[in-house]
């Protein structure tokens, strides 16, 4: 199964849970299935969903691969975008700066992990503080108002194509298709699975694990930059505190989507389905007037629940560890 990364079992469980959750909410208030509600769910899920794509690749690379700084990257990139627009640069250039800055920050993470040999969790914990600190310094802690920016820019986060959110149709779905091709059809994806499964084996087949892993961090940074631009356009605001929760929630989504936290397994398809589930549950809970303080707890329950269900289906009992521990990286 590891060779393809698809986990039909987990994906099935997640789809079922999504339908049941939506059904449960609809029993309480059928209005939740209305167009505007589904539209809002999609809009609110796109940014975290795009970030989770990058996180999927990083975690797939194995050897403790994880990126705790994705939210901070998105925030700092978004702040740079805001400053660029305020300084009078044309919006396409500002967006390019935002996305390039995201990729650049991802490259810094990659270089620290692969060249300086700092464990990923420490590297990205440190850069999370650095990037979000820098975003605060640059703005003085004040949100940058972009509501008067060009309408074409705001369209990135507020526009619609054929009645569907622009960012879903023109950014999220294309990114999903490209990443499916990269992960499951291209050489890079196969190499990434091998690197994530066993560094030694990958090296013996002539791959360069560090180079491949460094790329995953760059992609994660790029994705965070894109999410930062969408968020800024959606709210007409560049905030140093934007996407703050994405640092951890993106990891939760990736693990929920069936990726092994130890690498070498998982798929962006699983990540996509997990994003939908989390998006539906989060929106539904606040729609149903559920105390937001408890929402984070509910997500934790779903994460544990999905792993337990998966274990039960695949015949492992309660004694089994929640994550696949069938191999050690060499």
């Amino acid at each position: 199964m590891g060779a393809t990364g698809f986990q039909p079992g987990r994906i099935g469980v997640l789809v079922l849970l999504t339908i049941l959750a939506l059904g449960g909410f609809a029993l309480g208030d059928p209005g939740i299935l209305s167009g505007p509600n589904l539209y809002s769910m999609a809009v609110f899920s796109v940014e975290i969903g795009i970030i989770a794509f990058g996180q999927t690749l990083v975690i797939c690379g194995g050897d403790g691969g994880i990126d705790l700084s994705v939210g901070a990257i998105g925030a700092l990139a978004q702040v740079l975008l805001g400053l660029a627009i305020t300084a009078g640069l044309p919006w396409p250039l500002a967006v390019a700066i935002c996305v390039a800055a995201g990729a650049g920050m991802g490259m810094i993470n990659g270089a620290c992990v692969t060249r300086l040999d700092i464990p990923p969790i420490i590297t990205t914990l440190a850069t999370m503080f650095v990037f979000s600190g820098l975003a605060l310094v640059l703005t003085g802690g004040i949100n940058i108002d972009l509501t008067t920016a060009s309408a074409a820019f705001l369209f990135l986060g507020q526009g619609a194509i054929a009645g569907l959110p622009f960012q879903l149709v023109a950014l999220y779905l294309p990114a999903l298709l490209i990443l499916i091709a990269v992960q499951h059809r291209a050489g890079f994806g196969r190499a990434l699975y091998l690197v994530g499964t066993s560094t030694t084996a990958a090296r013996l087949t002539g791959l360069r694990p560090n180079r491949i892993r460094a790329r995953t961090y760059a992609i994660a940074g790029l994705m965070a930059g894109i999410a930062g631009a969408i968020g800024a356009a959606r709210l007409g605001t560049a905030s140093p505190e934007a996407l703050g929760q994405a640092n951890l929630i993106s990891i939760a989504i990736v693990v929920l989507g069936g990726s092994s936290i130890f690498g070498g397994d998982g798929s962006v398809v699983g990540t996509m389905v997990a994003t939908v589930l989390i998006g539906v549950v989060n929106y539904g809970l606040s729609y149903m007037n559920f105390n937001p303080v408890y929402q984070a707890g509910v997500m934790g329950l779903i994460l544990i629940g999905a792993v337990l269900i998966d274990n039960a289906i695949s015949g492992r009992g309660l004694s089994a560890l929640p994550f696949r521990m069938t191999r050690s990286t060499g």
Binding site: L20, G24, G28, L235, N289, I302
Partner: protein, 330 residues
Amino acid sequence: MTRKITLAGAVSVPALALAVALAPGSASAKDYTIGFVPKLVGIPYFTAMKQGLEKAGKKFGAKIVYQGPTTASVSGQVEIAESLINKHLDAVGVSANSPTALSAVAKKAKAAGVLFYSSDSQVDGPDVSLRVSQADDKALAYAVIDQLAQQVGDKGDVAFVSGGPTATNLNVWIGFMKDRMKAKYPDMKLVSIQYAGEDISKATDVTSQLLSAYPNLKGVVGVNSTAVPGAAQAVLSAGMSGKVAVTGITDPNTIRPFVNNGTVKSVVLWNPVDLGYLTAWAVLQELDHKQLKAENDVPGLGKIAYDAKTKTLLLGKPLVITKKNIGLNF
């Protein structure tokens, strides 16, 4: 065993969804439903506003939906406000984390036929049907000086300790305080204005220096919420309790210990419970298409001024907090 786990897991998500959906209960058909999204939930100030909203809701027949983000984030607030609009409540309002980002939400509300209002912290733009503002700056500043005069016997040297030297609202208050002294208490002399930021211990240091520099000092005014307890601490440490009066603008929770030990006789603020109450009352007037007048008789609050040009209703009456009502929780 295994099957049981699967079943429990599969049932838990929709069961939760359903439980949440049914929990709030349904409002009776004729009552209006008013949504309010504070800057953040879980702090006493907004919990007090909620109490006021619910008090008015009970009295005038409206259901209050109180939902907010757990941190003062623009995106969290926008998402919750949009979900309430999608739900087609009769009215949705905010205490805005950004005056501009929320104006897009106001536009959306108008398009959906939902009345949009802001209270406590306002939203810009033409789509806001009603604004409820807490206190008249002038009345607040005058009330502080009146309290001070009462405690120092209308004469003697006094000093101000403020927050940031560039904070707009604080400087406006200082200006009105000076006016009041000049006009009504000519024997009171302002000897110094110091700035201590939003930092209690810095305010303590600054006040200690004032006490040694001006041995005839009779009173200290803390202009922001951290300056008052800071000044009180300095006066208490210097053994000057009762000899040097301390008053200013702050909330009961912050100043309670110093009121209880007698260092501070009174402080001034607006009452957030009244603010919530007035907000709900005014929203109901709008929903019933009752035109607000320049001066309105609000049951339980008295005369309340309304500015038709900015659509702003002003709570106006500062609340003097003394030992008698220090039990207020906000």
